[in-house]
């Protein structure tokens, strides 16, 4: 689930929650209008400090990914914002660096990486298309 976090990671828990929601939205697991648990529900369910969860929800609200309606709870926003293009490119480039380090140690060459990327992109589009 998107709220399965690992407290022992260096990444602060609220960031893990923000990332979890973003990932679930990107994968189509959460779609516009889906309700997410209230801070209190989630705090006791995953045993995480409610202030941490509130901080994550605030961040998600500021970024326009969720909308909170008093008394009704929080929902995935209808019009999701496109994040800044340059910011997005940098984040992806950082992840690709990690892929290349791993590929070096496992003896996977550049051509293989390229064909793998193509293959994964195709699979991803098929999965999203079927939702």
């Amino acid at each position: 689930m998107w709220f399965d976090i690992d407290p022992s990671l260096s990444m602060p828990i609220y960031q893990q929650l923000v990332h979890g929601v973003k990932e679930a939205v990107a994968r189509g697991v959460l779609v516009a209008g889906d309700r997410i648990p209230t801070v209190r529900e989630l705090a006791s369910h995953i045993m995480i400090n409610p202030n941490t969860i509130a901080k994550a929800y605030q961040r998600l609200e500021q970024e326009g990914i969720i909308v909170t309606m008093r008394s009704r709870g929080s929902f995935i926003a209808e019009n999701l914002p496109a994040s800044s293009r340059e910011e997005g490119r940098q984040a992806i480039a950082g992840l690709l660096d990690k892929v290349m380090i791993e590929a070096f140690h496992r003896g996977v060459d550049a051509e293989e990486i390229k064909s793998l990327v193509q293959e994964r992109l195709k699979k991803w589009e098929q999965e999203r298309g079927s939702r």
Partner: protein, 317 residues
């Protein structure tokens, strides 16, 4: 200035000439969860007992909920206390303890007491002395929550208890914080639980407060970095980065734990030549060990396997 649920001001305490607490000052804002860690004998229980006015400090004072608990009953009736060995009248039945609670505490919530004791399956007609330790801790937690606390002081409440109960305990306490904005101050050795539950972490060692920081800030300012180096580069790194908490070297692989701003540290390392610094995960437990080591905690144990210094070269930071 934030409103403070706990204001510990310059507290010192010694027992038979031995210093247990040495000028401790720390503050916890309302609605926060503050975890207190440190080795056995560091002074955690003494500090919590002074907050509860079970022990008197030699110096300094404590304010809970804005008042000195020593003089004000209206403070004590809003402070729930759970310790690893809860003190209750051994010959009372559980239901009699609850009745006593309802008479002593003016904000007693009978419904909450009933719901929690049925959820925890507390045997109403059994005497307290016949309860297991786990059940006594459950009893103490029910009583601490039934008083409608504004502050919970928990002294290693789940030490030695099974993981299922630890989970239940944490869920109930997190629900209390979320639902009622209750402030929590608790000591624990369980760093994994602490990482989940705490806003603030305070660390005691030998009666001194080593640090007291927001957990997120602490995670953001402590880093473990691995890189490839030769002897000369190790010296350069040590010269340029004075805030290394601990360092280990295994052949060409050099791993440091360091405090500070990551982009700045990364820039310094990159300027010293190319040896591929890579940030690796640092759990709170490892961070804690590094900080304790820096404070002089002795980790030299008489282990069966003799340590080969070629493999684990500890480099004095």
């Amino acid at each position: 200035m934030l409103d403070l649920a706990i204001n510990i001001n310059d507290i010192s305490k010694s027992f038979d000439g031995l210093t247990a607490l040495d000028h401790i000052t720390m503050q916890v804002p309302y609605g926060c969860v503050c975890g207190l860690v440190g080795p056995n004998g560091a002074g955690k229980s003494t500090l919590i007992k002074i907050c509860m006015d079970i022990l008197r400090p030699d110096h300094g004072e404590v304010e809970l909920l804005g008042e000195n608990p020593r003089w004000k009953n209206r403070v004590r009736e809003r402070v729930g206390y759970v310790s690893d060995i809860p003190g209750m009248y051994p010959n009372f039945k559980c239901e009699e303890m609850f009745q006593l609670g309802s008479k002593l505490y003016p904000h007693w919530d009978s419904e909450r007491c009933r719901d929690l004791s049925s959820a925890f399956e507390i045997p109403a007609t059994r005497s307290v002395h016949a309860l297991s330790r786990g059940m006594k801790v459950r009893m103490a937690l029910v009583m601490a929550l039934a008083i409608r606390p504004r502050l919970l002081l928990l002294d290693e409440p789940t030490a030695g208890l099974d993981p299922l109960f630890r989970r239940e305990f944490l869920q109930v306490v997190m629900d209390e914080v979320a639902g009622n904005g209750t402030t929590v101050f608790y000591s624990t050795h369980n760093l994994a639980d602490l990482e989940r539950a705490a806003d603030y972490v305070g660390c005691l060692n030998n009666g001194r407060l080593l640090f007291h920081h927001p957990l997120d800030e602490m995670k953001g300012s402590l880093h473990r970095v691995q890189m490839m180096v030769d002897d000369e580069q190790v010296l350069m790194i040590q010269n340029r980065l004075p805030d290394i908490l601990d360092a280990q070297r295994n052949g060409r692989l050099y791993s440091i734990t360091i405090e500070g701003n990551w982009p700045e540290i990364e820039a310094v390392l990159n300027n010293l030549g190319s040896f591929y610094p890579e940030k690796v995960n640092l759990s709170l437990e490892e961070a804690f060990v590094s900080l304790m080591r820096k404070d002089g905690y002795n980790f030299k144990l008489p282990l069966h396997s003799e340590r080969n210094d070629e493999c684990f070269k500890e480099v004095a930071p």
